[in-house]
């Protein structure tokens, strides 16, 4: 019998990926009809065409919880060839919008998947949460103690989609919150040997860089004591975001390339930060890696937070062939977190 003790820090491999988007896509025409926001404004200034909501736009009824979407995505990842659900030894979920503060949503996901007696983690984070989850999973596998794990990212932003509110006179900064976001989840199975898709996770970057800096984005939560406070649930400093995210993205790209000892022209695919259709286009231009194919999804899926990297990976895997390399860049503007990861198909 083989023992795991002789193994040297194993590389992690992405064996499969699955995603879940709730219901039918909601286009700008529908959104403008429901919310009274100018359709053309959305197209020109945001550049997002469709998004998906877990909440019914007509009735406001919640049709899917975050746990539902995460479990749906995970089930798809677990159903892929070369993957065996009974091998899952841990779960890491990254999200900014858990269903409840307790129990952590990851445990409901485990329950829905029929997984038991395994460590579960939930990372409270915005756009970098999925990358952080990859980081934790990679470390666990590298420890030699675990061989197969499930990495999940997802967000249900429509919790803040107040359908009762009249936004006709709202400022653009406020309006953006209604048109930018969407809901969704993604999941990937990570293994210590190339199986299924057989894509090596080469490097994961996670770094807090916001010392002394005001947050670019705040999502409040309310309890019994402060639930009637007249605070905005969602605050974004769009000026700061527009200014800083492209700069940070470029730094992440070059830091990762340096760490990997890859040349920019060796990159076959680039997975840029997915803020909105328009912002992502702008950042991609600034990243300026013309030889790499851009893999973006936000214009069709909306900004669904921690689901985005999985949606990008899913698109990537459709075309990636053996020996090709991809690099993903993510920025969480809340407290200015740099994130990224690199993939290489075996």
């Amino acid at each position: 019998m083989t023992t795991a003790t002789t193994r040297t820090t194993p590389t992690s491999y992405l064996a499969s990926v699955g995603t879940a988007l709730p219901g039918d896509p909601v286009d700008n025409a529908t959104l403008s009809k429901v919310l009274g926001i100018n359709e053309e404004w959305i197209e020109v200034f945001i550049g997002t065409r469709t998004r998906y909501f877990a909440r019914d736009l007509g009735t406001g009824v919640v049709r899917w919880s975050l746990a539902d979407l995460c479990a749906q995505a995970a089930e798809r990842a677990l159903a892929a060839p070369g993957v065996d659900p009974s091998e899952i030894e841990f779960i890491v979920l990254g999200t900014a919008t858990p269903d409840t503060l307790m129990p952590a949503t990851v445990n409901h996901v485990a329950d829905q998947l029929g997984l038991d007696q395994i460590p579960t983690f939930q990372l409270q984070s915005g756009c970098a949460g999925a990358v952080q989850a990859f980081g934790v999973a990679q470390s666990m596998i590298a420890s030699g103690q675990y061989r197969t794990g499930l990495v999940i990212g997802g967000d249900v932003c429509s919790k803040h989609l107040d359908l009762q509110r009249d936004v006709s006179g709202a400022a653009p900064g406020d309006l953006v919150n209604y048109v930018l976001f969407g809901d969704g989840a993604g999941a990937a199975v990570l293994t210590d040997e190339p199986r299924g898709q057989g894509v090596a996770l080469r490097h994961v970057l996670n770094r807090f860089t916001g010392l002394g800096r005001a947050p670019g984005q705040v999502i409040e939560w309310f309890g019994l004591a402060d639930r009637y406070d007249d605070r905005q649930a969602l605050i974004e400093d769009y000026k700061a975001i527009e200014e800083s995210v492209p700069v940070m993205a470029v730094e992440i790209l070059w830091e990762m390339l340096g760490e990997l000892d890859w040349e920019a022209d060796q990159l076959d695919y680039l997975l840029p930060p997915q803020l909105s259709g328009r912002m992502t286009r702008r950042i991609t231009e600034e990243l300026d890696v013309p030889t790499a194919t851009d893999i973006s999804c936000v214009a069709d899926t909306g900004n669904n937070g921690n689901a985005l990297p999985f949606l990008q990976i899913e698109k990537l895997l459709e075309r990636m062939s053996g020996g090709e390399r991809a690099l993903a860049v993510a920025v969480e503007s809340s407290k200015w977190i740099k994130a990224g990861f690199a993939l290489e198909k075996m």
């Binding site: 019998m1 083989t2 795991a4 479990a71 749906q72 089930e75 159903a79 060839p81 065996d84 659900p85 009974s86 091998e87 030894e89 329950d111 829905q112 998947l113 029929g114 038991d116 007696q117 395994i118 675990y146 061989r147 197969t148």
Partner: protein, 1016 residues
């Protein structure tokens, strides 16, 4: 040895009514032990703390719930026979059925195979209670008792032809049974083996024995290897597993819980006492099992111990294990025993342990051993290379080896070595991955012997599907494969699991919905395909189906490829695009042909094989291909040429539909040489075809007569004299293509009848162009042959309505109309629903074609949920001798809720009905013999009432006693007339039977006997 796979499991243990609950009980470290139920014996009467003679020192034990419930109707066992059966037989029978289902096999599919049945059992208390009451020993009691019958009954009811035997080696019985089963599989004596163990405590005898032998724990609980261990507590249970050679299980894509790598049995011979545990024999059997498995002791990660919790037993077992494990490197071997949760389940102990180990390897975690926290330090476990499972042990990824011990009181010891399922077997590869498949929706099916059972099982399936995320395709496919074989067939289409759950619950709640979604096919279905003709086409017809169904896509692509050389442009692309060109006859004809061919072939691939074909006009080409009268390429060439030639004809032709008979319109067509009779769709539905101006003239005259007319949206005057210019050129092509005699009967719309050995050749297709479409005649001829299902093959239903308007040739319900495509919105779900309807009507689909290859994997479903309505038990609980017989017993054979008796059985003798003394007498006799309360003339003696030869002899005697004028009945006379109770009554009347005694003979006597016999 060659590895043997555990592929199916079912069990019931104290506090755990099924396998899932058993696992939960163990994982929660829960206690299944409680007070002795009043139903068994009066524990207080037999209790003595000091353990006096004839007494037990405990009133506790591990008892299963509802041991008296038995679904006799499911197995067509008469109530009288059920009441005479040892409950251990009944429990095993139900559990065996469920275990086979859990293995992903419809139990009926094992019928006639050499499947073996091996049962471990050591309790025979039912016989001790009943076979000693000599005055009341009946034929049923004979077969209701005895170890052999526990196994033989399973073989009988499942019709299994392999070895069938029961083993008694006391507490090791069921692991020894597994040993025999493994050997039978390895010697290829059988390909499937059902291994069971059972133990039901009916008397306090063993409790008293354990007490008197100083082995009984005062709290009735085994505390294995614990400092508090003070003896045995008794437990009950039933467990059944299904075994196969691992290679066979993998080849069949079965889910494998775990693998038996080695198993050994020995005896301690003339040890120091017949019943004393023997360390040396135990260590030998461990060594033998390790050798047979080819493992080193240090490979074994955990062992499920015999672990009865007696001081001596625990010590011996630890020493025997220590012999092999004391000097192992690394971690000590983990040790535990489920007896801490259940008590000692005696004859079922081996199977309880085997199931625990299999589930542990399956779930990759070993439950904690109850009472392990307070370890018995004197055992010095660490020195023996052992540690107690004080907490659940999570197993690492990769193969894990485990051991299982079961030791018999008389010294017959058994040990098994198990391993986790190989990675690829735990999750089977898709079956037949290359074959195209998938209709774009799933079809969930379930069968049951009656409507109530259907409801109960629909709810069980709904609950399981709702409990956690389950993939719909594999779930539905498993329902098709496993839940088959009973008379009532439920089927519904679904596109996601949530929708399915809702539909199952609605069906269980609403009788009319259940009625609509279920069928009771009486005979073999006769399916007819009706292919639509021109007029049914529209842009993007069947586009939804093409997108969703890979199977349909495959066949439409095939038709398109056949047409392409003759059309020059992809007909498929034209059909799928939103292109009005589909209405020009050049494209209409090949497009309808492609759709008809693809839909027809799709249904055939799904297992719906037509016995009759009919095509309306151009629909006849696809019918001819399906009938193998034309090759696909030839038909494609003909249709393309036909459409193109007709397109070239000058405009100016049209068609006029008239609500009149062909005779009524003849006078008008005779006056107009350029107008002919295009089609006769029914007795009052005729289509005129020809020159537009002439049609206008006729139309005006018809309107003047008050007849309804309608101009059809067609480009040309099909089936009219205006078609003549194309005939010569078409004939040349048709001659090259040729054509043969259909292999499936074709009801020709040229001839208006079935073709009788006539070829669908060039002259037929030439005549077809201008001949009147005799749809009404052809359809009437087809209906006269009694089809059960008319499947309309086309982009929208047209012909079904026409058929409905025809006068039905025969009285009765008429055929079911099945519509795989409803119209523009139709896609996968409609096709799936059409298949569901065909299945409800008796068609046996080729289910794999319904699902995409990746969905063709085994998925476990909850096993059959048996009725608990009927209960059978000993008349009175066991009492100490000399105690007054007080009626403290719960009502025997009581229904759990009064008034919920089965309502589906028809009765002949409802109070107030017309008096028929002979029928009453016969019904009374049948009731008495079978122990039924409620039977009717439609009940079949064998199939419904479970009569056998012994019962028929008794029935004959009872009939002779009750009826005069029938002379001496011989069994030979009787046998041919026993198809149903009504048949028997008719036969006796023919003989001139009259009643000897009072008319109501039987009612009172019957009731009294019923009470008595049900309690047996």
């Amino acid at each position: 040895m060659e590895p043997v796979a555990i592929v199916g499991i079912d069990c019931r243990f104290p506090g755990a009514p099924d396998t899932g609950a058993y696992w939960d009980l163990m994982m929660r470290g829960a206690d299944g032990v409680g007070e002795v139920p009043r139903q068994r014996w009066d524990a207080k009467e037999f209790h003595s703390e000091a353990g006096e003679e004839g007494h037990s020192n405990t009133t506790q034990g591990g008892f299963i719930a509802d041991p008296d419930a038995f679904d006799d109707e499911f197995f067509t066992i008469s109530p009288r026979e059920a009441a005479a059966m040892d409950p251990q037989q009944r429990l095993l029978l139900q559990s065996a059925w469920r275990a086979v289902e859990d293995a992903g096999i419809a139990p009926r599919n094992l019928a006639g195979t050499s499947t073996g049945v091996f049962v471990g059992i050591m309790g025979n208390e039912w016989a001790q209670l009943h076979l000693t009451d000599y005055a009341n020993v009946t034929a049923q009691l004979g077969s209701g008792n005895g170890y052999c019958m526990t196994a033989n009954r399973i073989s009988y009811h499942l019709d299994l032809k392999g070895p069938s035997l029961a083993v008694d080696t006391a507490c090791s019985s069921s692991l020894v049974a597994a040993h025999l089963a493994v050997n039978a599989l390895l010697s290829e004596e059988c390909d499937h083996a059902i291994v069971g163990g059972v133990n039901v405590a009916l008397t306090p005898a063993l409790s008293i024995f354990y007490t008197q032998a100083g082995l009984s724990a005062p709290d009735g609980r085994c505390k294995p290897f614990s400092a508090e261990a003070d003896g045995i507590g008794r437990g009950e249970g039933v467990g059944v597993i299904v075994l196969r050679r691992l290679r066979d299980a993998i080849a069949d894509g079965q889910r494998v819980y775990a693998v038996i790598r080695g198993i050994a049995v020995n005896q301690d011979g003339r040890s120091n006492g017949l019943t004393a545990p023997n360390r040396w024999a135990q260590q030998d059997v461990l060594g033998a099992a390790y050798r047979r498995a080819g493992v080193e002791p240090s490979d074994v990660v955990f062992t499920e111990a015999h672990g009865t919790g007696t001081g001596l037993g625990d010590m011996m077992e630890v020493k025997a294990l220590g012999h092999h494990h004391a000097d192992r490197g690394g971690k000590p071997m983990a040790l535990g025993s489920v007896k801490g949760n259940l008590g000692h389940t005696e004859g079922a102990a081996g199977i309880a342990g085997l199931i625990k180990v299999a589930l542990s390897l399956h779930h990759r975690v070993v439950p904690a051993s109850r009472f392990a926290a307070k370890e018995n330090k004197q055992l010095k476990l660490r020195d023996h290379g052992l540690r107690l499972l004080k907490a659940p042990l999570r197993l690492p990824a990769g193969p894990t080896v485990a051991g299982l011990s079961s030791f018999g009181m008389g010294g017959t010891n058994a040990h098994a070595v198990l391993e986790s399922a190989p990675g690829h077997a735990a999750r089977p590869e898709p079956v037949n991955g290359a074959a195209p498949g998938g209709v774009g929706a799933a079809v969930f099916t379930l069968t049951a012997p009656n409507a109530e059972a259907l409801r109960r099982n629909l709810l069980a399936q709904a609950d399981a599907a709702a409990a956690r995320r389950v993939p719909l395709g594999p779930l539905a496919r498993s329902s098709n494969r496993v839940k088959a074989g009973h008379r009532h067939r439920f089927a519904t289409a679904a596109t996601d699991t949530g929708e399915l759950v809702a539909r199952l619950r609605e069906s269980a709640a609403a009788p009319e919905l259940l009625d609509r979604l279920s069928g009771r096919p009486a005979g073999r279905p006769r399916v007819a395909f009706l292919f639509t003709g021109q007029g049914s086409q529209y842009p993007r017809m069947t586009a939804g189906l093409y997108e969703q169904s890979p199977l349909y896509r495959h066949f439409l692509d095939e038709a398109d490829a056949a047409l392409l050389p003759h059309t020059g442009r992809s007909v498929r692309d034209l059909v799928l695009a939103d292109d009005a060109a589909v209405h020009s006859t050049r494209w209409t004809q090949p497009a309808l042909f492609a759709v008809g061919y693809a839909l027809g072939r799709t249904l055939m691939a799904l297992g719906a094989h037509p016995g009759m074909l009919l095509g309306h006009s151009v629909g006849e080409f696809a019918a001819a291909v399906l009938a193998r009268a034309l090759p696909l390429d030839g038909a494609a060439r003909l249709v393309a040429a036909r459409g193109a030639l007709m397109q070239e004809l000058p405009p100016g032709g049209g068609m006029l539909s008239v609500k009149a008979s062909r005779e009524d319109v003849r006078q008008w067509t005779e006056q107009e040489p350029l107008v002919g009779l295009g089609a006769v769709n029914g007795p009052a539905s005729t289509v005129l075809s020809g020159d537009l101006e002439a049609l206008e003239r006729i139309g005006a005259k018809l309107a003047a007569e008050g007849l309804t007319t309608r101009e059809l949206q067609v480009s040309h005057a099909f089936h009219s004299p205006l078609m003549r210019p194309v005939l010569d050129r078409f004939a040349k092509i048709a001659a090259e293509v040729g054509g043969g005699v259909p292999e499936i009967p074709v009801y020709s719309t040229v001839r208006g009848r079935v073709l009788d050995g006539e070829a669908l050749d060039a002259s037929y297709w030439v005549e077809h162009i201008s001949a009147t479409v005799l749809f009404g005649d052809a359809a009437a001829a087809l209906l006269a042959e009694g089809p059960t299902h008319l499947v309309e093959i086309g982009p929208r239903p047209v012909l079904s309505g026409m058929v409905r308007r025809l006068d039905q040739p025969a009285a009765g319900a008429g055929p079911a109309h099945v519509l795989p495509v409803h119209g523009p919105e139709s896609a996968g779900p409609a096709l799936a629903e059409a298949l569901a309807e065909l299945y409800r009507g008796g068609v046996e689909p080729d289910w794999d074609a319904v699902y995409a290859p990746e969905d063709r994997v085994a998925h476990p479903l909850p096993p059959y949920s048996f009725s608990t309505e009927h209960r059978y038990w000993a008349r009175n609980p066991v009492r100490a001798p000399g105690t007054a017989a007080v009626a403290t017993a719960p009502a025997p054979a009581a229904h759990p809720e009064p008034g919920t008796g089965p309502a589906s059985v028809l009765t002949l003798d409802r109070p107030g009905g017309p008096a028929d003394p002979v029928a009453d007498a016969v019904l009374g006799a049948v009731r008495l013999v079978g122990g039924y309360t409620d039977i009717g003339p439609h009940d079949r003696l064998y199939e419904d009432l479970g009569f056998d030869s012994v019962m028929i002899m008794e029935l004959k005697n009872r009939l002779e006693a009750r009826l005069a004028g029938i002379g001496t009945l011989t069994v030979q006379d009787l046998l041919p007339r026993l198809s149903s109770v009504g048949d028997l009554v008719a036969f006796l009347r023919e003989l001139g039977a009259t009643v000897t005694g009072p008319v109501n003979f039987g009612t009172e006597e019957n009731r009294a006997l019923m009470e008595e016999e049900r309690t047996a």
